[in-house]
C-alpha cells in the first residue's frame, strides 16, 4: 500500500473524472486538474470567487464550479482550456447546481426552491421547472441518464415529475401518496422509483417508470420512520434503514420484506465476527494469529492500532440519544451495498463507532467493525468486495471478507482523514483531510 504526497484542497472539493484520468481539486478560487496517474497539473483555472461546489460532467470534458454566495456557476472545458462559460442566476440566488446526465445541461436550484433553471450549453437555452420541493433528495437521475425524477410540492400535495433528460420533455406527472415526501431514488435499472415519506411516517412507495404505484410498504406506525434508503446495484433489493435501528430488505418481485437486520447492543450471532480496533504503542513482539495488522512504522508519534477478534457475545458501545432534540442520533443513517451485491454495510447512529457488514446471500450478520472513534465515512470499492472507512483520525481502515486492516497515513504532520472515496478502477483511494488530499494506492498491496 503506497501513499502519494499531500496536496492542498479546500471545502472538501476533490473529484476524480468519471473516466478516471483526471483529478480535480479546488483550492480557494482556483481549480486544479491533475493527471491521475502522474499527479502532474494538467490545467489550472481561476474562478471568480471561492468555489463551493465542483462537479465533473459525465463525459469528463467539463467541470462545473459553483459559487453559491454570488449565484454564479463557471464551467471549464478540458479540451479547450480557453473556452469558458459563466452562468449568473442573478438576484434570485443559488443553492445547488448540478450537471444533467448528458453533460450539456446544468440544473440550478434557486433559493427558497423557487424553481429549477435548466441551462443548455448547446443552445444557451434556459428553461424553468417550477415548484420543486426542498427535501432530502428531491431530484434523481436514472442510472442510464435518460430520466429525471423531480419531487414537487403544489397545493400542499406532493407530486412527482418524470422528465426525459434528452429534451426535458415531461413524461409523467403524478401525485404521490406521501404526507411529506422526503426523497426519491431510481432503481439502478431505471424502471422503479422508490419514494419515501419524511421521518414522521414510515412509508415507502414504489412507482413504475410510467407512474403506476407498484407497491407501498410501511413497517410500523406512530414512530419515527425511514432514515436512509439504498438500492442494491442489481435492483434486486431495496434496503430501508429506519429510526428503530433496523434495516429492512424488500425484494423486487413482491416488494415485500424479505428480512430485517437488527443492530443489537449485544452481538450473540455466533457466525458473525466482531473486529475491535485496539490502539496501542508499537510493541515489538509476536503477533496474534487472529490479528491482521498492517502498519507502516515510520509514524513514530502516532498511536498504532490493530484489530482484535472479540469473543462472543460482544457488547457494542451505545450512546443514548437526546430525546428532546430533533433528528435524534439513533437509527440507520447510512447503508451501502457492495458492487457485487453480496454485502451490505450499515451504520447505526447510536452506535457511531461500529460498522456492520451483512451477508446478502445468507441474509445474516457477517462482521462488525468496532472502531475507537465514530465512523465518519465508509465506501465500497466499485470493483471488489472491499470496504474503506475512516474515523477522523490518521488511519484508513479496510475490510474485506478476508479480514480487517488498519493503515496509518504516513505523511508528515498529522493527516486526519475526514472522508474518502475510491477511484473508479478501485485501484486507489482518495483521502481527504480538512485542507489536504492524499492518494492511497491499494492495488499494489492487493497484488503483493
Amino acid at each position: 500500500m503506497n501513499f502519494s504526497e499531500v496536496f492542498k484542497q479546500s471545502n472538501q472539493l476533490c473529484k476524480v473524472s468519471p473516466d478516471g484520468k483526471y483529478l480535480a481539486t479546488c483550492v480557494q478560487y482556483r481549480l486544479v486538474v491533475r493527471d491521475f496517474s502522474s499527479l502532474q497539473i494538467v490545467h489550472l483555472y481561476t474562478c471568480l470567487d471561492q468555489v463551493m461546489h465542483m462537479e465533473w460532467s459525465s463525459d469528463s470534458l467539463f467541470i462545473l464550479c459553483a459559487m453559491y454566495k454570488r449565484g454564479l456557476v463557471q464551467v471549464w472545458s478540458l479540451e479547450q482550456p480557453d473556452w469558458h462559460c459563466k452562468i449568473d442566476e442573478g438576484s434570485i440566488g443559488l443553492v445547488s447546481s448540478r450537471w444533467s446526465p448528458d453533460g450539456r445541461h446544468i440544473l440550478n436550484t434557486t433559493e427558497f426552491s423557487l424553481r429549477v433553471t435548466v441551462w443548455s450549453l448547446c443552445t444557451k437555452a434556459v428553461s424553468y421547472i417550477k415548484y420543486p420541493k426542498a427535501c432530502q433528495k428531491g431530484v434523481d437521475f436514472s442510472a442510464d441518464g435518460r430520466y429525471m425524477a423531480l419531487a414537487e410540492r403544489r397545493e400542499c400535495k406532493d407530486y412527482i415529475s418524470v422528465f426525459v433528460c434528452d429534451d426535458w420533455h415531461l413524461l409523467r406527472h403524478f401525485e404521490s401518496e406521501t404526507q411529506d415526501l422526503s426523497g426519491l431514488e431510481w432503481s439502478p435499472n431505471g424502471c422503479v422509483l422508490a419514494v419515501w415519506d419524511s421521518c414522521l411516517e414510515y412509508k415507502i412507495l414504489l412507482y413504475s417508470l410510467d407512474g403506476r404505484l407498484l407497491s407501498s410498504y410501511s413497517a410500523y406506525e406512530w414512530s419515527l420512520g425511514i432514515k436512509s434508503v439504498a438500492w442494491s446495484p442489481s435492483s434486486q433489493f431495496l434496503a430501508v434503514g429506519s429510526y428503530d435501528e433496523k434495516v429492512r430488505i424488500l425484494n423486487h418481485i413482491t416488494w415485500k420484506k424479505i428480512t430485517e437486520f437488527e443492530h443489537p447492543a449485544t452481538i450473540m450471532n455466533t457466525k458473525a465476527v466482531v473486529f475491535k480496533e485496539v490502539e496501542k504503542r508499537p510493541v515489538v513482539g509476536s503477533e496474534d494469529l487472529s490479528i491482521h495488522q498492517l502498519t507502516v512504522d515510520n509514524s513514530l508519534f502516532s498511536t498504532q492500532s490493530k484489530y482484535e477478534i472479540t469473543q462472543l457475545p460482544a457488547q457494542v458501545p451505545v450512546i443514548k440519544p437526546d430525546p428532546e432534540r430533533a433528528n435524534p442520533k439513533i437509527g440507520i443513517s447510512a447503508l451501502a451495498f457492495s458492487a457485487d451485491n453480496r454485502f451490505l454495510a450499515t451504520k447505526n447512529d447510536n452506535m457511531p463507532q461500529s460498522l456492520w457488514v451483512w451477508d446478502m446471500q445468507r441474509l445474516s450478520l457477517l462482521a462488525v467493525l468496532e472502531q475507537t472513534a465514530p465512523v465518519r465515512c465508509f465506501v465500497w470499492d466499485p470493483r471488489r468486495p472491499r470496504l474503506a472507512l475512516c474515523t477522523g483520525n490518521t488511519k484508513v481502515y479496510l475490510w474485506s471478507p478476508a479480514g480487517c486492516v488498519s493503515v496509518n497515513v504516513p505523511v508528515e504532520g498529522s493527516f486526519q482523514v475526514q472522508s474518502l472515496f475510491w477511484h473508479c478502477s478501485g485501484s486507489s483511494l482518495v483521502l481527504l483531510s480538512k485542507e489536504h488530499i492524499c492518494l492511497c494506492y491499494v492495488e499494489a498491496e492487493e497484488e503483493k
Binding site: C85, S91, C122, D167, G190, L209
Partner: protein
C-alpha cells in the same frame, strides 16, 4: 348403678321422728338408769356407741323392747322377721335374722351413700371442668371477637384504599382523555397552520418569482464563448408530438425490456427448478422401483400399486414435459406426479424406518420372537393386576376416609378454601354461630348441674338425717344383743364382700317392698326417691343426649386447640358410655 338399691326401703324420716322420739324418750330413762350396769360390757365392745344402746333394753322392759323392735322392723319393711318371746325368753334365731336384715339394710344405705358421694364428687369435678372449659371458650370467643374486629378493620382500610385508588384511576383516565383531546386538537391546529403557512409560502414564492421575472433581471444570463455540440453528436430536435410519442415508446420499451429480463430470469429459475424436480422424480422412481417386488406381496397396499401403475406411464411423460415446459397442464402433471412420488417415498421411508427399528429390536432380542409375545402377555397381565391393585387401594382409601372423617371433610374443605378472605369471613361467622350454640348448651348443662347438685345436696341432707335416725333406731334396737354383735358384724361383712349381688338378686327387691311397705309411707316416699333416682340418672342421660352435637363441635374445634380438648373428648366418651 343397679336397680337393687333404689326404691322404697328408705324409711321416711319425717314420719318416724315422732315415734322415734317418743320411744327414745321412753327408752332414755332405762338407759341412764343402767348406765353403770352395762358399763363393763360396753367397755368391752369395740364401738362405744353400743354402750349407749345398752341402756335401751333391761331385764324389765324386754317385752316392750321386743314390741318396739317389731314395730320398727315392720315399719322398716322387714316383714319376714320379727322377735318372738317364747315364754319370756327371746329366741336367738329371729333376733339374729333381724339383726342380719338390719345390718344388710344399713350396709345398703352405706353403699348408696357412698355411691351418692362419688356421684357428687364426679358431678362436681364435671362441673369444675365445664366451668374451666366455659372459661376457655369465653377466652376463645373474646379472641375470635378481637380477631374479627381486626379483620373488619383491615377490610375497611382496604376498602378505603380501593376507593382512593379508584378515584386516582378515574382522575388519571380523565387526564388521559383530556391530554388526548388536547393532542388531537393540537394536531389538527398544527396541520391547519402548516397548510396555511405553506400556502402563504407558495404565494410568496409565486410573487417573488413574478417580481424577479418581471424585472427582467439583467444579471440572469449565460455567457458562453461558443456553443458546444451534444454529447451524442446529434443535433437537438424540436419538441413535436412525434417526439412525445417516441419518448413514450422508449419508456415503454425500457419497461418492457425490464419485464422481459425479469421474465427471462424467472424462466431460467423456473426451468432450473423443473430440472431439479425431474431429476428428483427420476431418482425417486429408481429408488422405489427395485423395492417393488418386496413391497408388492403386501395385499393391503393398493394405493402403492396404483401409484406403481402410474409410474409406468410417467417416464413417457417426461420427454413430453420437457418439450412443452411452459404448458400449464404439463406443469400440473409434473407437480402432481412429484407429489405422488414424494408421498410414496415418504411412506416407503417410514416403512423402512419401522422395519429397521423392528429389525434392530429383533436383533436385540436375538431369536426370541416367542419370548416377545410372552413378554407382552406378561406385561398385559401385570398391567391388569396393577390396575386391580390400584382400584383396591383406591377403594380402601375411600372407605377409610369415609370412616375416619365424615365430619372432618367439611373441615378440610373449609381449610382448603381458606385462602379466600370472603370464605374466611363466612367460616368465622359459622364458627361464631356454632360457638354461640355451644355456649348455650353449656349454659343449659351448667344449669342442670347446679340443679342436680342442689337436689343432691337436699337428698344428701335428708339421707343423712335418715341415716342418723336409722342409726339411732338401730342402736336402740341393738342394745339387747350387745354380746352377739361382734360375730354377727364380722361375718356379714365378709359374706357381703364376696357375693353382694347374688344376695341382692336372691332377695326380690321391688315386689316384696311394695307388698310389705307400710301403706302410709309408700306414696310419700316414692316421689323423693324417684326424684333422686331421676336426678342422678337423668343428668348423665340428659347430658349424654345434649352432648352429642356439642361433642361434634368440640371435635371440630379440636384442630385449633388439641391439648385442651382432649380432656373434653374423654369426658364425652365417659358420659356416653353408660348410655
Amino acid at each position: 348403678m343397679g336397680d337393687w338399691w333404689t326404691p322404697t326401703k328408705m324409711p321416711d324420716p319425717s314420719l318416724d321422728t315422732k315415734e322415734l322420739s317418743s320411744i327414745s324418750g321412753i327408752s332414755m330413762s332405762p338407759c341412764r338408769r343402767n348406765s353403770h350396769h352395762s358399763l363393763h360390757s360396753t367397755m368391752a365392745l369395740p364401738k362405744t356407741s353400743y354402750s349407749v344402746i345398752s341402756a335401751f333394753c333391761t331385764e324389765e322392759n324386754i317385752p316392750q323392747c321386743i314390741v318396739y323392735i317389731n314395730q320398727e322392723v315392720c315399719s322398716l319393711g322387714l316383714t319376714g322377721v320379727s322377735l318372738e318371746t317364747k315364754a319370756g325368753v327371746l329366741s336367738a334365731v329371729p333376733v339374729l335374722n333381724l339383726l342380719y336384715e338390719v345390718l344388710q339394710l344399713q350396709k345398703r344405705a352405706q353403699r348408696a351413700l357412698h355411691d351418692l358421694e362419688t356421684q357428687q364428687l364426679k358431678s362436681s369435678s364435671d362441673l369444675e371442668h365445664l366451668q374451666h372449659s366455659n372459661c376457655r371458650l369465653k377466652d376463645q370467643l373474646e379472641h375470635t371477637r378481637r380477631e374479627n374486629s381486626g379483620l373488619h378493620e383491615g377490610e375497611r382500610q382496604l376498602q378505603l384504599k380501593i376507593k382512593t385508588l379508584q378515584n386516582c384511576l378515574k382522575s388519571e383516565k380523565e387526564e388521559v382523555q383530556k391530554l388526548q383531546s388536547i393532542i388531537s386538537s393540537r394536531a389538527t391546529q398544527y396541520n391547519h397552520d402548516t397548510k396555511r403557512k405553506e400556502r402563504e409560502c407558495t404565494k410568496l414564492k409565486e410573487r417573488l418569482n413574478q417580481l424577479l421575472m418581471d424585472k427582467r433581471d439583467k444579471k440572469l444570463s449565460i455567457e458562453i464563448s461558443n456553443h458546444v455540440g451534444r454529447s451524442d453528436g446529434k443535433r437537438g430536435l424540436w419538441k413535436t408530438v412525434k417526439m412525445e410519442a417516441r419518448h413514450e415508446g422508449e419508456m415503454y420499451r425500457a419497461l418492457l425490456g425490464d419485464y422481459e429480463t425479469r421474465q427471462r430470469s424467472l424462466m431460467m429459475e423456473n426451468s432450473e427448478l423443473k430440472k431439479v424436480l425431474q431429476l428428483m422424480k427420476k431418482d425417486m422412481i429408481t429408488i422405489l422401483s427395485p423395492k417393488k417386488p418386496c413391497v408388492k406381496p403386501e395385499p393391503a397396499d393398493d394405493s402403492l400399486e396404483q401409484a406403481v401403475s402410474e409410474d409406468e406411464e410417467d417416464p413417457g411423460d417426461c420427454s413430453r414435459e420437457s418439450v412443452e415446459q411452459s404448458c400449464e397442464q404439463a406443469r400440473q402433471q409434473l407437480t402432481d406426479s412429484i407429489r405422488l412420488q414424494w408421498r410414496k417415498l415418504k411412506s416407503h421411508m417410514e416403512r423402512l424406518d419401522s422395519q429397521a427399528s423392528l429389525l434392530a429390536s429383533q436383533e436385540r432380542e436375538g431369536d426370541e420372537m416367542m419370548s416377545r409375545k410372552e413378554h407382552e402377555d406378561e406385561m398385559q397381565r401385570m398391567r391388569l393386576e396393577l390396575q386391580q391393585c390400584k382400584e383396591f387401594i383406591h377403594m380402601q382409601q375411600q372407605l377409610l376416609q369415609q370412616q375416619l372423617s365424615s365430619p372432618c371433610d367439611e373441615e378440610t374443605a373449609a381449610l382448603l378454601n381458606d385462602c379466600y378472605t370472603l370464605e374466611e369471613k363466612e367460616r368465622l361467622k359459622e364458627e361464631w354461630r356454632l360457638f354461640n350454640e355451644q355456649k348455650r348448651n353449656f349454659e343449659r348443662e351448667r344449669k342442670n348441674f347446679t340443679e342436680a347438685a342442689i337436689r343432691l345436696g337436699h337428698e344428701r341432707k335428708t339421707f343423712e338425717e335418715d341415716r342418723a335416725a336409722w342409726l339411732k333406731t338401730q342402736f336402740l334396737n341393738m342394745t339387747p344383743f350387745v354380746d352377739r354383735k361382734r360375730p354377727a358384724l364380722t361375718e356379714p361383712h365378709s359374706a357381703l364382700s364376696v357375693e353382694p349381688e347374688a344376695k341382692l338378686q336372691s332377695t326380690p327387691p321391688l315386689v316384696t317392698q311394695s307388698l310389705f311397705s307400710t301403706p302410709k309411707a309408700a306414696p310419700v316416699k316414692m316421689p323423693s326417691t324417684a326424684d333422686l333416682y331421676r336426678t342422678l340418672h337423668l343428668v348423665p342421660d340428659a347430658r349424654g343426649h345434649g352432648r352429642c352435637p356439642s361433642g361434634e363441635m368440640l371435635t371440630k374445634s379440636r384442630l385449633r386447640n388439641c391439648s385442651t380438648d382432649c380432656s373434653v373428648i374423654s369426658l364425652v366418651r365417659d358420659e356416653n358410655s353408660p348410655v
